[in-house]
Symmetry: C2
Subunit: 381 residues, 2 copies
């Protein structure tokens, strides 16, 4: 909990809920008749509604991107490093919107919500969301907030994929697009890791084919395993070495199957904490959304063609030690934008944190993002 709110924080914030009763037809062909989106806003929308930034979240993220819900909060929102007075998404200048995506488990309609057709939680019957479905639902939220055109859409990892999708599906509705630590599609290895995570969850005997709510249980062990595995891919090998090395938990080897190394203890803690706070069906859904993302597939697998109608300026950022979505993957996006003759700035940040680096206030990265978000921007400079 913060003893006092830092001066560069957006302070105490409260989530809001928007209800949508217009049916949403999804890429899968399925329809959600009505739904709600949970969101937060930081800063003030200016008179001509031209200073709004949408922040899209990654696999385990949500609407609480900045500030605190109460003085009892141990930590601020997940992207607090970048949102607030004087920060890259400067709330003295911009009106920042963050939402929990459809299918999430933090207040927006998702697997834990009651399906009006059955009176029971959707569970595994909640439709798999494509990234484009999220973008459509985000566009409706923009309508609701009276925002015709985002000043910028910003996202890291799966959030970056949403930002990219915005530029394809609603080219006239954003001026700037920041695609951070992302990729234009997952590789076989990326999918393979997701598949092991899914199998961890679905093979947990408490999963009950996804209807664990009915059994008053959760697939805690499976979800913990999925998170442990995910966590390894978020960190660089170097950062794990620096953080843990081969340090022993008790100073000596156990010669039994207890925890020997600090890194084991850390991973178990991360897994257990996550499994108390996240819904397993949402985790499955988010990994499928990641696997399915491949916008170029509809354009003869030509990403430049796919991006040809975009009208915004782009910023693409990668991190040197990110092996989940390595710099090469970001460069695929940059190359396509260059081929499509779109304005793009690219920065590969030399950072030790791996994929997680996108959440850290690394000066070079944040300066670049700040500059990109100024009216002049740096793209095409």
């Amino acid at each position: 909990m913060p003893k006092e709110i830092p001066a560069d924080s957006v302070g105490i914030v409260a989530p809001q809920v928007a209800q949508f009763d217009e049916p949403l037809t999804l890429r899968s062909g399925r329809v959600i008749e009505s739904y709600q989106l949970c969101y937060e806003t930081y800063g003030t929308l200016n008179e001509d509604r031209s200073n709004a930034i949408l922040v899209c979240h990654a696999l385990s993220g949500h609407h609480h991107a900045a500030g605190y819900h109460s003085m009892d909060d141990k930590k601020p929102g997940w992207f607090d490093s970048a949102i607030g007075p004087g920060k890259p998404m400067d709330t003295n200048k911009y009106f920042v919107v963050a939402l929990n995506n459809l299918g999430g488990c933090h207040g927006s309609t998702g697997p834990t919500s009651i399906d009006p057709a059955t009176g029971e939680p959707y569970g595994p019957n909640f439709p798999i969301m494509a990234v484009r479905d999220w973008v459509t639902s985000q566009a409706r939220l923009a309508d609701r907030l009276g925002i015709d055109c985002w000043y910028a859409v910003v996202g890291g990892s799966l959030g970056g994929m949403q930002a990219l999708r915005w530029s394809i599906d609603y080219p006239e509705r954003l001026k700037k697009c920041a695609v951070i630590a992302a990729a234009p599609k997952l590789t076989a290895q990326n999918i393979a890791f997701n598949e092991v995570a899914r199998q961890s969850i679905t093979s947990d005997t408490e999963f009950h084919e996804g209807y664990y709510y009915k059994h008053d249980t959760i697939p805690r062990r499976g979800l913990a395993l999925a998170r442990m595995l995910g966590h390894i891919t978020y960190l660089s090998e170097d950062s794990m070495r620096d953080k843990f090395g081969r340090d022993l938990k008790t100073g000596k080897l156990s010669f039994n199957y207890d925890i020997d190394f600090e890194v084991e203890s850390y991973l178990r803690y991360q897994g257990e904490r996550f499994s108390d706070a996240f819904d397993a069906n949402t985790y499955l859904l988010m990994t499928k959304s990641l696997d399915y993302f491949d916008p170029a597939a509809d354009f003869d697998h030509d990403l430049a063609k796919c991006l040809s109608k975009s009208q915004c300026k782009f910023l693409v950022v990668s991190f040197s030690t990110d092996w989940r979505f390595a710099p090469e993957r970001s460069k695929e996006i940059v190359d396509a934008l260059v081929r499509a003759q779109k304005p793009v700035s690219y920065l590969e940040v030399d950072a030790p944190q791996g994929h997680d680096a996108f959440l850290f206030p690394i000066p070079e990265y944040f300066n670049f993002l700040s500059n990109f978000l100024t009216p002049a921007g740096v793209a095409n400079a």
Copy 2:
């Protein structure tokens, strides 16, 4: 099954069992009163017993390294590519010995064996084996076979660690040491992957604290998960891309939680096949042996000092796309050997297969290994 035995095969082979009744004191302080080792031999031991090569196996390996057990076998032994007439371990010249390590599940004493003290399978009470314990037991097998000094000890991955340990613990008992696709110790990331694999097994409700034999069951799902995860780390990202890419199993996305991509199908198959054939307690044991391996730890963490008494010639081989034990890790061994002024040849093979490359008959690699094994050798050339 082979229609006919290939000309460069060792042909039909049969395992043998050696019984040892002299107690073996382990690094953990525990003692195994008696045990058996299952092994195979290929080629003929020469009169002065100077042409014997020991092949050490990796995590999931065993004594059946070459040839066929019967004409019904679908596949030959796991290192058949390298053992046979005219192959690098040329059975026209050398007498090759391969064994199942203690703690294994293929005929040597291990968790599935009956503990004479209880009349029940050892299960999780089987002692965790250190790499040095395996080497000690292998030295006893050498005594039994009348081999005072190995012409060479050869191993890949965890097998390479055993080869390295031989040069430290029995410097006068080997002339050549081939350390392939190995590392002088595991990193935090390596340990982290092993920990997720272990947690997959131990959190399976069929694990029963390791006493699953009593319950007439096996932790099949946990073992399959562990193998799926391991398998990802054995392949390079490029080889997965080339093999599977984003190919779809049925030609279209399912939009449910069925298998979508070929890579998912492949991994599930690998996991299921493995869980039918391998013992979960052995898997746990082998991963702990890997985690614990750190021979330099007893020498002020100075690997050169640790290797200072070795008397053999060394060959160290790494593979360009191996990210489990990357070339940098092999170079740590080479650097230490150079500092210790030991004869060493090093080869980094440009190979797409990742860690698994050490099993493939890559001409550059096999030529190098063949040359190293000739009496003149290439080390110190």
